[in-house]
């Protein structure tokens, strides 16, 4: 019995030490404005293989992710977000995609933030 426990403990600790985290919590800023942005950012992030959970907080612009480090990296998510029109520190959306965003989502224009965004889309 004792041996078994020790054995199990060894396995658990070695898993934690060597394998990459299957439930890694990551948080970074994503530029955006409103609830429409939130839906777009979250959808794009969740479609990246290995991302388990996403939540983009509108006031703080912080995207919180839980992802499997064996399957993807935060950079993969940032790239996916850029492909739908939103900027992060290491990936920017191209102008064509950005320009297709609805007016209230054009976060690069400071005035867009002042728009009324409380309508449900």
């Amino acid at each position: 019995m004792k041996k078994l426990i020790i054995c199990l403990l060894l396995i658990i600790t070695s898993v934690q030490a060597h394998a990459q985290d299957k439930n890694k919590k990551v948080s970074f800023e994503v530029k955006g404005n409103c609830a429409m942005c939130k839906a777009r950012i979250e959808k794009a992030s969740l479609k990246v293989k290995g991302v388990k959970y996403v939540n983009w907080d509108i006031p703080s612009k912080q995207l919180t992710l839980i992802l499997d480090e064996n399957k993807c990296t935060p950079l993969d998510v940032k790239k996916a977000i850029a492909r739908v029109g939103h900027d992060t520190d290491s990936a920017q959306a191209d102008d064509k995609t950005y320009n297709n965003l609805p007016p209230c989502c054009k976060f690069r224009d400071p005035a867009s933030v002042l728009m009324d965004h409380n309508v449900k889309h």
Binding site: N23, V51, I66
Partner: protein, 753 residues
């Protein structure tokens, strides 16, 4: 009522008229009115406000009535309102008439009024299941003293009165009586077994925070018993409820009600609430002069204490609820005195005494590091004790129930794929005495369930669930349930569902109105394990469509659904011989098909219109042949108009509400073998019932409401057969197709802090 004689044709015509102008709209002009607060709490029109599209130079100015018109600019969609004395406001324009825009003073120390624009009755476009959510504001529209009365402004649920003596309100969904519905209170099964008939009147309306009505096959989480739908009620919660709420009500038939709620926050995370309800019906009313009370005399004391603990950082949430109730009903002939005449043939009378204790607890834990993963356990224990007699018939039932449910929520791969799994155990001990005959029963069930839901984040979502149960009387069985939703196009959803339900029929508790008749009881089966009867098994299939669109500048919801319930096994309740009531296993076919069409529209700002048409086709193979279900109209029509004045900054407001229920003719159980003066026609007449209510809100703290129910004063001509000879062979109070009680007028006050 002749205008509505053929509601189906009318509806089609109406629908066609509604659709034509949609295609015609081209150049859209946006209109609206700018108002400001005049400092006395009134909104007044503001002329001279600049109105322009963001990123555009064309400016319009409001006229002396505060009105403006501006051609729609689809590139901007952002309308800016500016005036030197007021704060500039930007509105995201999503409809041609944007109604009233309230501008705030540039420097305003007044409280900012945040108005909730969510309708009190909601149908969701995105929910997978066909769920109607009713919040407490909707329940305020009815006199609404208890749960059974809170569906009167809601067309999804039909409210009927079970018999002419007890006055108990019964509800139906998809044309099936309440035993085929699963009632849950915060997802713990309630109002089942012994409390089936009177249980709805044991939950005071003012304790209810919201109600969720699921049509058709429900989820698998709460058990296998639901066949036509689920009704879940959420009670008020100590940490989110008001500090204090007081309500008194009285009506012209000497019915008085009192409701009080008091909540205390003991710490940031812990709160407790005390909720009290009492009611008294004191009026000896016999307006139809049949010698019988039109409404029972009643007394009820109802007390609840709840504890809530919530620590969102650590992920814990927990409830403990204690609920005690004592209810006494007394009815029958006017001259009946219980102490003197009980169980004698001096006068016919009835008393129903109920005592009930409910204890329930809930503990939930959300893993702080994995917000999509949670585990919860719910446990409830209740004792229900009913002692009653109806004339010479005596009926006592005692039920002790224990229920526990463990549920685990998580995901597969990502939050698009959610899973729910769990186990539950329940035990019901019944001790029944039917005219001295003792019938005891002990039911045990252990079951497990698994539910998978998928959301494509775009068009498709689905929920698939399965249960496996073992019941000591019903055996092993599997219950699958499935729901799917697909977005056809913008603001339109198509839903489908199917599922199975299984239940043992508590024939006496569910049909105790028959005791108030001279009918004899007949059970001619002995093959099954519950009163000799087999369990009831049914499949339910449903399809529904909802479209939201803009019509003449305002939101219109249209929805239609069709549900079919097919019984594989059923306990048939046969009322067709006026001398007896028979219970037997179905041999042949039994089905219930229902079609419902709803239309909701805001006619002018704050004036909402709802209309519903329902068609029922319910047929059972009786031993005497195939017949439609008795006391069930084939056509029903419902309309509701509600209007609210603009709320002033001190919260004052008027609210008006009007409801019409029209029911088509109903087939009545056969009474042809009775003597002529104790017979009913084959069909009842069609009739309409109208309810109305006016609420005057004086401030955020105080409001007064007055209203009338059945204001056209329609009652059933002969409510009780053989009321002149209640101990004779023809006495029967069970054939009730219309109200016994005429117009009711009430007044009530609400005070809240």
């Amino acid at each position: 009522m002749h205008l509505l004689k053929n509601p189906f044709n009318k509806l089609i015509l109406f629908a066609i008229l509604l659709i034509i102008p949609l295609a015609a709209t081209s150049q859209i002009t946006i209109t609206g009115t700018v108002v400001v607060n005049n400092g006395k709490g009134e909104a007044i029109a503001q002329p001279g406000v600049n109105v322009y599209w963001q990123d555009s130079t064309a400016i319009q100015v409001t006229n002396k009535d505060g009105n403006f018109q501006i051609p729609f600019n689809k590139n901007s969609k952002k309308l800016v309102f500016s005036h030197p004395e007021y704060q500039t406001d930007t509105i995201n324009v999503n409809r041609p008439n944007i109604g009233k825009i309230l501008l705030q003073k540039e420097i305003s120390l007044e409280e900012v009024v945040v108005r909730n624009n969510i309708k009190p009755l909601q149908k969701s476009l995105f929910e997978v299941q066909n769920v109607v959510t009713v919040d407490s504001r909707e329940m305020l529209k009815a006199a609404c003293c208890n749960l059974s009365e809170s569906f009167e402004t809601n067309p999804t649920v039909d409210v009927n009165i079970s018999d002419a003596v007890s006055g108990a309100k019964q509800i139906q969904m998809l044309g099936l009586n309440s035993p085929y519905l699963l009632f849950t209170q915060e997802n713990i099964p309630s109002i089942r077994g012994a409390s089936q008939i009177y249980g709805l009147s044991f939950i005071p309306g003012s304790w209810i925070e919201s109600i969720q009505i699921t049509k058709g096959a429900g989820g698998v989480q709460n058990g296998y018993e639901s066949i036509s739908g689920q009704i879940n009620s959420e009670l008020v919660k100590p940490l989110s409820d008001k500090l204090l709420f007081l309500n008194v009500y009285s009506n012209n038939y000497e019915r008085y009600e009192f409701n009080g709620r008091y909540n205390k926050k003991i710490s940031e995370n812990l709160g407790t609430g005390i909720y009290v309800h009492g009611n008294l019906r004191n009026g000896n009313i016999d307006n139809n002069d049949d010698g019988f009370l039109d409404t029972p005399l009643a007394e009820q004391i109802n007390f609840m204490n709840r504890w809530q603990y919530m620590d969102s950082e650590k992920g814990w949430v927990s409830f403990l609820t204690l609920h005690y109730l004592k209810d006494k009903k007394n009815t029958g002939q006017l001259n009946f005195v219980p102490e003197r005449d009980k169980l004698s043939t001096n006068y016919w009378g009835s008393e129903v005494l109920s005592n009930r204790l409910d204890i329930s607890s809930k503990v939930g834990y959300v893993f702080p590091e994995l917000p999509y993963q949670s585990i919860g356990i719910q446990t409830s224990y209740n004792i229900h004790d009913q002692n009653s007699y109806y004339g010479l018939n005596q009926y006592n039932i005692k039920q002790n129930s224990f229920y526990t449910n463990l549920i685990f929520n998580s995901i597969i791969n990502n939050t698009q794929n959610k899973i729910k799994a769990g186990i539950n155990y329940s035990n019901d001990y019944y001790d029944e005495q039917v005219n001295g005959q003792v019938l005891g029963r002990n039911d045990n069930t252990i079951g497990s369930f698994f539910e998978y839901s998928y959301d494509s984040l775009e068009k498709l979502s689905l929920v698939a669930g399965i249960r496996m149960d073992h019941h000591n009387k019903l055996g092993h069985f599997i219950t699958p349930r499935f729901h799917i939703r697909y977005s056809l196009w913008d603001k339109a959803s198509l839903r489908g569902s199917f599922g199975k339900g299984v239940k043992g029929a508590n024939i006496f508790a569910e049909n105790q109105q028959f005791f108030a008749s001279s009918r004899s009881l007949e059970i001619t089966e002995n093959s099954g394990k519950i009163y000799g009867l087999k369990p009831e098994v049914a499949w339910n299939f449903g399809i529904s469509f909802i479209q939201k669109l803009y019509l003449w500048n305002r939101v219109l919801d249209f929805s239609a659904d069709f549900y079919s319930t097919q019984f594989q096994d059923q306990v048939v309740i046969d009322w067709e011989d006026p001398r007896k009531i028979s219970f037997y296993n179905l041999d042949g076919k039994s089905y219930s098909n229902s079609l419902q069409m709803d239309l909701n529209y805001e006619i002018v700002q704050n004036l909402d219109f709802r209309a519903t048409y329902k068609y029922y086709d319910i047929r059972v193979d009786y031993r005497s042949g195939s017949l439609t279900k008795p006391l069930q109209p084939k056509h029903r029509f419902f309309a509701n108009l509600s209007y609210e004045t603009h709320r002033k900054s001190n919260g004052s407001q008027w609210r008006f509400d009007y409801t019409l229920h029209w029911q088509g003719e109903q087939r009545l159980p056969n009474t042809a073998s009775n003597p002529n003066n104790y017979q009913f026609a084959s069909f009842s007449p069609s009739y309409g019932l109208m309810n109305t209510q006016v609420t005057r809100v004086f401030s955020k703290k105080f409001e007064v409401y007055i209203g009338g129910e059945n204001i056209a004063n329609y009652t059933q001509e002969m409510a009780i057969l053989g009321s002149d000879d209640p101990f004779g062979p023809y006495f029967d109070s069970t054939i009730l197709y219309a109200p016994v009680l005429g117009s009711t007028y009430y007044i009530g006050l609400r005070y809240k802090l």
